[in-house]
Symmetry: C2
Subunit: 259 residues, 2 copies
Amino acid sequence: MKTRIISGCVMLPLLVVVYLGGWWLMAAAFLVGIIGLHEFCKGFEASETVPCKPLGYAAAVLLYGLNALFTDDYRFVMFWVTVVVMASMIYGFDVEKRKLEDMTATLLGILYTVFLSYHIVLIDQSPFRQLIWLVFLAAFGTDIMAYFTGMAIGKHKLCPHLSPKKSIEGAVGGVIGSVVFCVLFGHFFAPDFKVLCLIIGFFGSIVSQLGDLSASAFKRQMGIKDYGNLIPGHGGILDRFDSVLFTAPVVFYCIEFLA
Amino acid sequence: MKTRIISGCVMLPLLVVVYLGGWWLMAAAFLVGIIGLHEFCKGFEASETVPCKPLGYAAAVLLYGLNALFTDDYRFVMFWVTVVVMASMIYGFDVEKRKLEDMTATLLGILYTVFLSYHIVLIDQSPFRQLIWLVFLAAFGTDIMAYFTGMAIGKHKLCPHLSPKKSIEGAVGGVIGSVVFCVLFGHFFAPDFKVLCLIIGFFGSIVSQLGDLSASAFKRQMGIKDYGNLIPGHGGILDRFDSVLFTAPVVFYCIEFLA
């Protein structure tokens, strides 16, 4: 509970950045990608896998550089993915020093943190940028409502091996909460897109919870409790943004294909 | 030498498929992706990493399905990459059974085999489909010319740890050979794109050799000699197509951004 309130306060500057959009939001998404990558790589290092951090940072700079030069040309994103795949493989040339995991972890680390968070920028650049709020409404709305619903009526465990405190009731409450938040947002701020807001609220919430559980699964395997200590006592960037990383693409592709 | 001649004969049907293009080439690229994925996963299994093969096959079907439905809409490729990243992470939910490597290897396996080989289809669908021959001229031209140059004047080892037989002289000969082949192709079959053919011949050859060395690095780490045994005594699909997987994207992006 305390974690949630404190995190909430820490999230306030985020609201300002999302409201401002443009370069501010791009800088924020870039930072989330870079710091997230750093934390994710540190997690891997705890399990004796050594992803190539410099390659990850270079990849982030390349992606945002290409984005600045060629807005809205998605071929450059494909090109970037290809470069990252090849570079991660070439990282393994030093066969005496590298292990298979070092290469594969480099690729997943970059795509998970840098590529997924980049979707925030893509939404901001789309003609429907006001819908960017749905990323956070779906992610944090799910989180908060799942917590309260689980506290109130949670009985059946969702996946005890992975996250012992989560209940099926909480998960359902999270989905309902997310849908309600997103539909209310649509009603007041995007009346032309009410159905889209409902769809995003529904799928965004499910994927948000998958993002949360994925982060738990990785932390478990890495043998760490939190990804970082950016907010003392309350985890790192990835601990706060694990669900946002998954909802941002949902919002972007829903906008692109359904709006 | 014998390997190269026999492989050359096996490659003849490939020429027909490339010439026909369309569905034939798409089926061939799909098969290279699927069989390549199978071989790559088997390699990982030799080192006790277990990527999710069914997920890989499903990803391949999804990519080619999306391609058939939405030709030339690259947003679907980005969407696909996102789905593959998330699905590879969700594969780890069964924390008792899965290791970190299983998830990361799944992602790299799919992107390496299915995504890179898919660029052959993308070239075939582009307005400059006749340039698809450059993929094979650069890859096999490099291979053959590097071999003969290395045999004739090879003295300085290229990277003894990784591939003891390769020489710097061979690598340079490969690049020159590839450039000559590609420029000759341009001269006779694509006179409007001579400079582009030269650029592709140059970069395609370098990247082709990186693809070859990457495959060697992975096989070393996996503790296997060949990826497969499709052509008895002469390796699997990935052993023959390791450089093509890397040159196909080079040709595609050169066409997209420079033609």
